[in-house]
């Protein structure tokens, strides 16, 4: 098996689950955090004994809201990670809610070994924040970025949402401008997506909420892309921009089809096996069940699938084409490439392909072309 250099850690707790969110997240279970952190540490320890892990180049603590962990808990988890083998200069990201970014926490996270902070700003518009059910204000969010930078974080990312009902392109660019003024190194801008199992999904189904038209969503997307490019950010993935050298190494590894280990409730792992097939496996989603399984048997596996080399190559291309600076992940699909180039969705250059503007808008169609 290929060695694993990336580790994802999931923290499924939130103070409030926003109505559009379909991640594996739970509110009102904060009491479970201490046993959960113990289980997470234990799962990493057991996995280390069974899998070829390390030295780890990237660690990503995502959620949910990992910033709900105390500084000591973050430290506990990262101590375990260090024991597993952390490469010098490794990227260690923590996702944080603006409300938790206090000078004390910032100092504690840095001390625990976190060196990249990803802050869930989402929007600065009061109406949008209310619609999205965010518990922080725009002022809180800007303050959080400033606190993180002032406290010593040299790599800060902000998450934003566009295409929010009631927010026009001017208001959206306003939010973007204010965030850029804070000098973040990395920015993710996601189109607000309606997922069927969420409360937003229900509101849209029943006609309570009307989502913007595709044209309006694309207008906001491309307006942001133009602004970010002008500000010196590379558009390196469909929803991600970074100052040169600040692309998220953890996510880049996954998009380049590198293996990773995922620990925590509902976390997914991906390994390349010796016969060139790919194994994906995932943990049980519920935190209670996760804690119970890890303490009983050292892991919380819930399911897995093995992809044949051909299917894995298709999947790699499906993901790889989302990298907008070019990818060779579609090298085994000359016929599909030709067709997609002909349809104006792909550009090909020296064995690398990348999406055209139209290809970005129809990226799922492009990705599907490599699946059988």
């Amino acid at each position: 098996m290929e060695r694993i250099h990336s580790l994802y850690l999931h923290v499924p707790f939130c103070t409030w689950v926003c109505k559009y969110c379909d991640f594996n997240a739970y509110a009102v279970l904060e009491g479970l955090i201490p046993p959960y952190v113990d289980a997470l540490s234990h799962e990493i320890e057991v996995a280390r004994a069974e899998l070829p892990i390390g030295p780890l180049e990237t660690v990503f603590i995502g959620g949910g809201t990992p910033s709900l962990l105390t500084r000591a808990q973050v430290r506990q988890v990262l101590d375990r990670v260090r024991a597993t083998g952390l490469a010098p200069g490794a990227e260690v990201t923590l996702e944080a809610n603006p409300s938790n970014v206090t000078p004390e926490n910032v100092a504690g996270w840095l001390e625990a070994g976190v060196n990249r902070l990803s802050i869930g700003v989402q929007s600065l518009q009061p109406d949008a924040l209310r619609f999205l059910e965010r518990l922080h204000s725009g002022t809180d969010a800007i303050a959080a970025i400033r606190t993180a930078r002032a406290g010593g974080f040299a790599n800060v990312s902000a998450d934003l949402l566009f295409g929010v009902p009631g927010v026009n392109v001017v208001a959206w660019l306003d939010t973007l401008e204010s965030v850029l003024a804070e000098g973040v190194q990395h920015l993710s801008a996601y189109e607000l997506t309606v997922e069927s199992g969420t409360r937003l999904g229900q509101e849209v189904r029943t006609g309570l909420v009307h989502m913007p038209e595709a044209d309006d969503q694309l207008e906001q997307y491309w307006a942001a892309a133009a602004r970010l490019e002008a500000a010196g950010y590379d558009h390196y993935e469909i929803s991600n921009w970074a100052r040169p050298g600040f692309g998220c190494r953890h996510n880049l590894a996954a998009w380049n089809y590198q293996p990773y280990l995922g620990c925590g409730a509902g976390a997914h792992s991906m390994f390349g096996l010796d016969d060139r097939s790919t194994e994906r496996r995932w943990n049980v989603k519920g935190p209670h069940a996760y804690i119970k399984h890890v303490s009983a048997r050292g892991n919380a596996l819930d399911g897995n699938e093995t992809l044949s080399p051909e299917r894995a190559r298709g999947e790699a291309a499906m993901i790889g084409v989302r990298l907008l600076e070019g990818t060779d992940s579609a090298r085994d699909f000359p016929e599909q490439r030709r067709h997609l180039v002909g349809a104006g969705l792909l550009l090909e250059n020296a064995g690398q392909v990348r999406l055209t503007r139209r290809g970005v808008e129809l990226a799922n169609q492009v990705g599907a072309a490599f699946l059988s």
């Binding site: 994802y8 997506t193 995932w282 349809a343 699946l371």
Partner: protein, 600 residues
Amino acid sequence: MSTPTHLTRAISVIAHVDHGKTTLSDRLLEYTGTVAPRDMVEQVLDQLELERERGITIKAQAVRMLYKADDGNTYQINLIDTPGHVDFSYEVSRALAACDGAILVVDASQGIEAQTLANVHQALDHNLTIIPVVNKIDLPQGNPELVREEIEKVIGLPAESVIFASARQGIGTKEILEAVVHRVPPPTGDSGAPLRALIFDAKFDAYRGVVTYIRVLEGTLRPGMRIQMMQTGKSFEVDEVGIFRPERTPVEDLTAGEVGYLIANIRNVRDSRVGDTVTDEARPAAAPLPGYRHVTPMVFAGLFPTDTEQYEQLKEALEKLQLNDAALVYEPESSAALGFGFRCGFLGLLHMEIVQERLEREFNLTLLGTAPTVEYRVRLRSGEEVPVDNPDHLPDAGQIEAISEPMVLATIVVPSTYVGNMMELSQERRGQFLNMQYEPGDRVVITYRMPLAEIIHDYYDQLKSRSKGYASLNYEVVGFEEADLVKLDVLVAGSPVDALSMIVDRSKAQQQGRRLAEKLKTLIPRQLFEVPIQAAIGGKIVARETVPAMRKDVTAKCYGGDVTRKRKLLEKQKEGKKRLKRVGNVEIPQEAFMAVLSLD
């Protein structure tokens, strides 16, 4: 076991669709103990899975019942169940030719309908004794008295001869059986004469070959005899003769008047044609029984495998299906748009649907059917006449002297309120009004002469919807007539799609082209690029619509944990696309090829 000729009867049950013919047959089987109630599956006589599911009879069936009548005699009653749909009217006609009497079933709430009349005319043509039965008298909305009056006034059968029944509840069953033994005459044929047996159906059995359903009218049929089919001239040696109880039961012989089957190592139903006469090769009859007609398909359509790799499978499936369906004809066809497939001829639209459904279901194929057309006769300037059953094969306008199309005599029976709607519809469909007759029970019988092509294009559905379901229709083909017709072509993304061509009346061509383009716009899903749809007559574009390009299809987040879900979603979408046919760069769904059927 053998019954004297004077105690033998042969009858059919005839009715408009859904008037309860098959249910009544089931009751007769039960009452005579032919089928034990515990073995009674609904609709014993409908043997095809498809028949039970759709509640219709496609193939004729036969069964022998023994009935102990009130006069103390035990009668042998041969019951032949007939298909109810107009597509299969020739089979009905042959089944009736094998009978001496007919039970006419009329629904107490629906009254006399178009096929009731057509069936009665056929029965009278064959000199059958008709026993009128008003069925479903237990239904609250029924009016049996009124229907009895209708039967007397419209059909001319005395009101006192009408029996009230409810097949569902078993009311009237005995009265019907008594009427059969007393009113229907016994057969008159001589069992010592040279053999003449009428084939009224045939069925392919994978182990025994063709099972031929016959009624012996004269002479005697025994195993070991060499028989000859008088129309085809082919000879066979008889392995087995038998009767239906209702399963096949071998007997020593079948004598004049008896109904049963013969098995003679016949490998294809085409050698055992419905309507043909079976005779003794050693002592042939002087002449065949009258009324044989070669069955000709009326409706033609292309059948193409959606997956081109299934062509061979489709070919084998058609061969197998044809063994059992003498009315199905096909020949290889290639389409620039759809690849290799078969041009198939059918008796009518229902027959077409059934064939396609059986091919898909029994042979596990995914098929694309093109819109049905009729067969045109084209007279060329050279004087030559060519048949055209595929619109795309119509010769260049410059070569054509004249085009003739098949015409039908259509009979519509409808309550008087809807007469205006029916006439309006038939006029729109190029119908020539012939006659209108008011009948008791507020019923009007209207006859039109109209092109068959108009009937197969959604006419029946329109008839039903413009009469709130009350109108009924029967039609028969009455010959060919010249018409001013042109070919309408369709171009999708600039390329002609041969499978979408149609032949239409010149005066309506432009309007049809516009409607077709509009319709296709709604049926062709958005593609990666804009898809223009054009309709053209003789190279001149008469209509244009555009399917806009797909605007957006992109997932915002695709991180490690999302990959499996996303891949599965895209794989599922892709699976759905396999039902579409790729024509050039454009993916076209099956419904688009049928769009020409409903342009109103």
